[in-house]
């Protein structure tokens, strides 16, 4: 099983220790920590989610509970219209993708849904500041 984003207006980014997924169409954002970080990164790389879960569960004190939590995590994103399951040829898990990550950092993820910034996130996407000037001159 693999998952893909349902829209180009959805983006997810890991900032420090937290995954932040933003749906600009609806002004929602989701936050997750722990195993969500390697799950999200590997998922976007086209890795098989079942293989991911199995690999991550080996680091857990309670593998079955961990796998159940990950299933709920993905289900939340599917129910919220963020991810869509697809079938296809999966990419292999990257070598050493959990290297240096402690078991403590890989706790089972939960997805918190936030609607408090909706008025702010549904924002004009065509105007921004540029590092080299505001506005940046069009290229000749």
């Amino acid at each position: 099983m693999q998952y893909v984003l349902t829209s180009k207006q959805i983006s997810g980014e890991i900032i420090d220790d937290e995954l932040i997924v933003i749906d600009l169409d609806r002004g929602l954002y989701f936050t997750s920590k722990g195993a969500a970080l390697p799950l999200w990164t590997s998922m976007l790389a086209g890795c098989d989610v079942d293989a991911l879960k199995a690999e991550l569960a080996t680091r857990s004190d309670d593998p079955s509970q961990f796998i159940a939590a990950v299933d709920i995590w993905f289900a939340t994103f599917v129910e919220q219209g963020i991810l869509r399951p697809i079938e296809g040829i999966s990419a292999p898990l990257p070598d050493g993708f959990l290297e240096g990550v402690s078991a403590r950092e890989l706790h089972a993820p939960t997805a918190e849904v936030h609607r408090d910034l909706a008025d702010i996130l549904i924002y004009d996407p065509v105007h921004d500041f540029e590092e080299i000037g505001w506005p940046k001159q069009p290229k000749a």
Binding site: Q9, E13, I22, L117, P135, K139
Partner: protein
Amino acid sequence: MKSLSVIIPCFNAEAYLGETLDSIQAQQLSDFEIIVLDDGSTDRSVEVARCHSAGVKVIQQTNQGPSAARQAGIAAASGELLAFCDADDVWAADRFPAQADFLLKFGASACCGMSQSFLTPELQTQHTSDQVLQSEYYRTFSALLIRRKVIEHIGRLPDNGPDIHIPFFARLQDHGIEVLQFNQVVTFRRVHANNLSRQGGAPFSGYARAIKGVLEDRREQARAQIVEKFGS
């Protein structure tokens, strides 16, 4: 004390700043000031601002980004009401006093009008105008009118990169300050080749970082409240 201060953070905007200033000075206003906060421009922006008219106050600083420029503009402002304008925006001809009347009528702390995008003339041959010509209500600095005492109450503007509007409006929200919606186009926002590229779902990486900043601010406040209540 002026009734309105218009703060224009500016960085290398010589091509558009004159038109921006024209649109502000065309407003039916008698008691206002315009502050151009030049953020280390390397072009003729300062000269354009100084030569435009006697009523334009120009402040220069080394390049520190739009947030710092706005902050410096706020510090220099004497108006009871503050409005912000990007150095390439064009104000709607009837923005003021209509937006100020609206704010005062409802006794509001702040209100945001609508924005309409327009293609900068250099792009007219490359893109069709229907890509961008739409009026929308956005929470942006450019469409905002806010009482200065409110800005002073919430403290220094967050310094959080290009998507500064997110932590700023979140902070207003966290302080219980309602931003009323003013259903009139107040500003025309220039669309450049470069920011067109942000349409169609390009990753808005600044948004995630800005949200992270909001979350961390809130968590820090929550921790501080716990310490205050129960001790460290």
